[in-house]
């Protein structure tokens, strides 16, 4: 078990294998691939947020010199219904319509035609030559208006799922869900104090630096190769095969390096279009989104409305809690209502609770995953309510959480019993942290909040090849976003007893690697790591076998230690250990090349808890909020590469604070996004943020050989409420809705 082991490689901080090429500009990202005879693909996007397509005339565009392919919805087959897979919610048949509209356009920027031409200028001119006749419809833009019984319908064929009785008439509520335990009415009766609040959070974008980009080429046999920046080339291959009605065997997907995804690069946008254009043009087609296209028509995080009610006894024991959670799905079903509802009360041991969730269609882009999808929205509400409760009870906010915190053996609000978890350890570490002991600076307020994410396991494959000189090649299929090549190499180094420097890691394409699900759900270090560890164990077993053959002993008389086969204690003690290199020298005689492999569906990912706190200063005359200090404490199970764990915690803190303070999708009355660029979609810049202090807690995950828990998503959850609670502390008044932008905060100060 993890605690008992002295690690040699794990827990060290080597430079990531892909690092130097990335910082020097040599690494190849999505838009870097160019092929001979390549064409440029561009997408025609809807100028309306909601309209019926009466007619599309592609003839003029087709006739233009330099134009080699023009497609619209009519060229695409109807897709099969099915789960999107990976992290995204919803139906692949909807993704097909999101990639290319058929009868209706459902948001401003929705693709409805595409061209491929010899230059970008010609492609743009061809788009302008496409004639479209629209019947403009009223856009549905407001979450609560969309839920009203007489609302304009985004989709006339959408009937609410999961109702007790089948829905009789269509609705913008795509589905509902309920989670409940105990009796909330009785619970509230037992309460000495009850707090409630209603919280709204606008759509926000992941803000990855690299826009979506891909290049597709289809050969004379109709087989396509697609280079793309993605969190999961296998998932994108599956989606593309479905949308284009192709065999998976006829699609090869190669993942480029990726400049951020955060959940937003788990679904297709350009890939099926590029394959379709290349098929028609019989030439390679490259497509790159502009930043504006990324904002308008990729998959932002859902906007939300949350209503929370929490009752507690004087000693802080929560007696009942309810949550009403509505999420904007965008134009197609699949908002992260489920995870949001399952996370909202997850950190607390509650006898009585009820959660209702709503997945609501609006005429905005189809949402995608964004780090812990759904959790920041719902937990912002709960963690804000707990802050109010702590004030009412005159209790330290950490003590209130400790009073109600789940621990090993607690029945999670979302179902299972927790195995070993580190929530209490995080709370205790926060309370003891020197930053928490310090007084709050003049003019500032302090906020505390907890974060939670389930983490995921799912399918991974890995192969390990031993080169003839004893060096090691790992082949797996999880795109490296957060330093996973380094983590894989460290886990292999630890398992095999080989130095990190002798190990290479390839993120193989869909033909070179076994199946791997997306790099998402904080699953890669856990699940793909487990596959790598098992593949290394496979190698060790084979090496022991080869050593046994060399020595003429039984395999069970050989042990593996520090990267060498050694004779078991008491057996042939005069035999000299055999290193990997020595085993490889004679490998041809002992059975040929040595290749280990593992393929698995990893179970028991180990829930991730965090506690964050920060001091935020409010300018009472302008409403501007400055983050003075921020401390993130999180249970990583076991940090394989602590620097990259800290990086995840710091990055998540900054993204969460950005969402809390200034990030928001601003739509005009026609559903046109008014801030589709980084000037007015304000992610924090480096000078906005203090150094984010981190403390890694290690309560090993019993399901992983080294105790790993995923760490990528939990970090974004708590900062929203930390900011809201700190501002509440500073100005003496709660601002329920995000963002805590200067005009909103100033208005709240003046009301108060």
């Amino acid at each position: 078990m993890a605690e008992a082991t002295e690690f040699k490689a794990i827990g060290t901080r080597p430079v990531r294998p892909d690092g130097v090429d990335k910082v020097t500009g040599r690494a190849q990202f999505g838009a870097d691939l160019n092929l001979p005879n390549m064409l440029y693909g561009k997408v025609l996007r809807s100028p309306h947020a909601h309209a019926r397509i009466r007619r599309i005339d592609l003839d003029a565009a087709r006739a233009m010199p330099g134009v080699h392919a023009v497609v619209s919805g009519a060229d695409f087959p109807g897709a099969q219904h099915g789960e999107i897979g990976g992290e995204g919610g919803g139906d692949v048949a909807d993704v097909a319509k999101n990639v290319m509209a058929r009868d209706k356009v459902l948001y401003h920027g929705h693709p409805l035609a595409a061209v491929a031409a010899t230059s970008q200028a010609i492609a743009e001119a061809a788009l302008a030559a496409i004639e479209v006749e629209y019947e403009v419809l009223t856009p549905v833009l407001d979450l609560e208006a969309a839920m009203a019984p007489d609302a304009v319908l985004v989709n006339e064929n959408c009937f609410t799922k999961n109702l007790p009785e089948p829905a009789e008439k269509p609705s913008n509520i795509a589905s509902v869900m309920t989670l409940a335990r105990g009796n909330v009415d009785e619970g509230f009766e037992l309460a000495d104090v009850i707090v409630e609040g209603e919280y709204r959070i606008p759509m926000a974008h992941q803000g990855y630096i690299e826009p979506h980009a891909c290049t597709a080429t289809v050969n004379e046999s109709g087989q396509a190769t697609v280079w793309t920046c993605t969190q999961g080339h296998f998932a994108l291959r599956t989606q593309t095969a479905n949308i284009l009605d192709m065999s998976v065997a006829d699609l090869k997907f190669i993942a480029s390096e990726i400049g951020g995804g955060f959940g937003g690069k788990t679904v297709v946008y350009l890939e099926p279009v590029a394959v379709m254009l290349s098929t028609q043009a019989r030439r390679p087609v490259k497509m790159v989104m502009s930043r504006e296209e990324v904002f308008r028509a990729s998959g932002p995080a859902a906007g939300s409305c949350a209503k929370i009610r929490v009752g507690a006894k004087k000693d802080g024991t929560i007696t009942a809690a309810t949550a009403w959670l509505a999420y904007e799905a965008g134009a197609f079903e699949g908002a992260p209502m489920g995870p949001g509802a399952m996370c909202v009360f997850a950190p607390y041991d509650l006898e009585n609770f009820r959660v209702e969730g709503f997945d609501v269609l609006v005429n905005k882009p189809k949402v995608a995953a964004y780090r812990a999808p759904g959790a920041p929205q719902s937990m912002h509400a709960m963690e804000s309510a707990l802050d109010d409760l702590a004030r009412e009870l005159n209790m330290d906010p950490i003590d209130l959480r400790l009073k109600n915190a789940v621990a090993e053996g607690s029945q999670a609000a979302y179902g299972p019993k927790f195995p070993a978890i580190g929530f209490r350890e995080c709370l205790e570490a926060a309370k003891a942290h020197p930053n928490y002991q310090k007084p709050v600076p003049e003019g500032a307020g302090r906020g505390v909040a907890a974060g939670f994410w389930f983490n995921a396991g799912m399918e991974s494959s890995a192969e390990v090849h031993i080169n003839e000189d004893g060096t090691v090649q790992i082949i797996e299929g999880s795109p490296d976003i957060g330093g996973s090549r380094a983590s894989m190499a460290l886990m292999a180094a630890e398992t095999l007893g080989v130095p990190y420097e002798k190990i290479r890691v390839l993120v193989g394409d869909t033909e070179a690697s076994g199946f791997n699900n997306v790099t998402g759900g904080s699953r890669t270090t856990f699940a793909t790591g487990m596959a790598v560890i098992q593949a290394c164990e496979d190698i060790i077993a084979q090496c022991k076998d080869r050593a046994a053959k060399t020595w003429g002993v039984d395999a069970d008389q050989v042990e593996w230690e520090d990267g060498q086969a050694i004779p078991a204690p008491g057996v042939n003690a005069e035999l000299k250990p055999l290193t990997l290199a020595e085993i490889m020298k004679t490998a041809a005689r002992t059975g040929g090349p040595i290749l280990g492999r593992a393929a698995l569906n990893a179970r028991g990912p180990g829930a991730g808890f965090s506690v964050n706190f920060g001091d935020l200063k409010v300018d009472r005359e302008t409403g501007k909020v400055d983050v003075l200090s921020f401390t993130a404490i999180q249970d990583a199970g076991k940090a394989i590469h602590p620097a990259y764990v800290e990086g995840q915690m710091q990055g998540g803190a900054v993204q969460g604070l950005g969402w809390a303070l200034n990030e928001e999708y601003i739509f005009d009355g026609n559903g046109v996004l008014e801030n589709p660029g980084f000037l007015d979609y304000r992610i924090p810049v480096a000078s906005d943020m203090p150094m984010i202090d981190t403390q890694i807690i290690e309560v090993p995950n019993p399901s992983h050989p080294f105790g790993v828990r995923g760490v990528g998503e939990t970090p974004i959850v708590a900062p929203l409420a930390v900011a809201a609670n700190a501002v509440r502390d500073a100005i003496g008044r709660r601002v329920h809705d995000l963002p805590l932008s200067p005009p909103n905060v100033l208005a709240a100060i003046e009301e108060g």
Binding site: R682, P684, D688, S741, P742, P743, L746
Partner: protein, 287 residues
């Protein structure tokens, strides 16, 4: 598209005056290139003025400083005498864009781009800066506040360029300051801004004042009532309140994604007050 880089202002004026189609002036290019890239403008003629000697100089004389139209923000920020005399103007110009932008952007370009939110302009207006204009008809000197006439529009005639900007000699016991409001700390555009330039008498009473506001009207505003509110005072609380009220009264902002009418109006007063206090201190006033 034709690109020309003449070596004299006269030549530049001639090229621009005789141009057919869309002709544009290229100084730092930090606005022009962005607009060209986004397709907002497709010029037929680009006249780069950076090879003109006069556009590259910072000249100090008894009349003040003459700053060439091609002088970058970064160079301005390294000029000690200028920083000492007009810290508000230099700081304002140094707020434009990022470090990379500072290597290229210019005060004259910021003025001619004619954005009401331009950072250097309220500071220049408060400083009583003049634009030295060269055109087919010869030279003329224009107060900087007369150059922009509305968003993206200037009073420059066809063929005219700004060769340099003159900041007056610093008066004894004077000081200037500029503040802008942005939700971030940098890399942003002013939601509202204020430039203040004060001259005190020997007792610390404000003798002369110029107050300019940005991003609250189609052009940068020179608010005379705001100046009147503080002349004859030592910036006591009543004077500061009157200053803020005069600024609020002058605001005619728009509601947009960067800020509401109410927010801009209120914060204009706040910034003017704060900038006035800094200018007062720089002028040697003691509170």
């Amino acid at each position: 598209m034709r690109y020309e880089a003449p070596s004299s202002s006269k030549e530049a004026a001639k090229l621009l005056a005789s141009a057919k189609g869309k002709a544009v002036v290229l100084a730092g290019g930090t606005d022009l290139l962005v607009r060209m890239k986004s397709g907002a403008v497709e010029p037929d003629l680009i006249v780069d003025i950076k090879r003109i000697g006069a556009t590259q100089e910072i000249k100090k004389s008894g009349n003040g400083f003459k700053i060439g139209a091609g002088v970058s923000g970064a160079r301005l920020g390294k000029h000690r005498a200028l920083k000492k005399a007009w810290p508000g103007v230099v700081e304002a110009t140094n707020l434009i864009g990022s470090d990379q932008i500072q290597g290229r952007c210019t005060m004259a370009g910021n003025l001619c781009n004619a954005s009401p939110a331009a950072d250097s302009v309220p500071a220049m207006v408060a400083a009583n800066a003049k634009a030295n204009v060269v055109g087919p008809g010869g030279r003329r000197t224009v107060a900087v506040e007369k150059i922009p006439t509305g968003p993206g529009k200037t009073s420059l005639k066809k063929g005219e360029i700004i060769e340099s900007i003159t900041l007056p000699a610093k008066a004894p016991r004077s000081g200037d300051a500029y503040l802008r409001f942005i939700p971030r700390t940098e890399m942003d555009i002013a939601v509202v801004s204020a430039g203040v330039n004060l001259t005190l008498d020997s007792k610390g009473v404000v003798k002369k004042a110029r107050v300019a506001l940005g991003a609250v009207a189609p052009t940068v505003l020179l608010v005379e009532d705001a100046a009147k509110a503080i002349v004859g005072t030592k910036l006591d609380d009543d004077a500061l309140a009157a200053l803020a009220a005069a600024c609020e009264a002058a605001c005619r902002p728009i509601d947009d994604m960067r800020g509401t009418i109410e927010f801009r109006t209120e914060v204009a007063g706040v910034l003017a007050r704060r900038a006035a206090l800094t200018a007062y201190e720089r002028a040697g006033g003691k509170k």
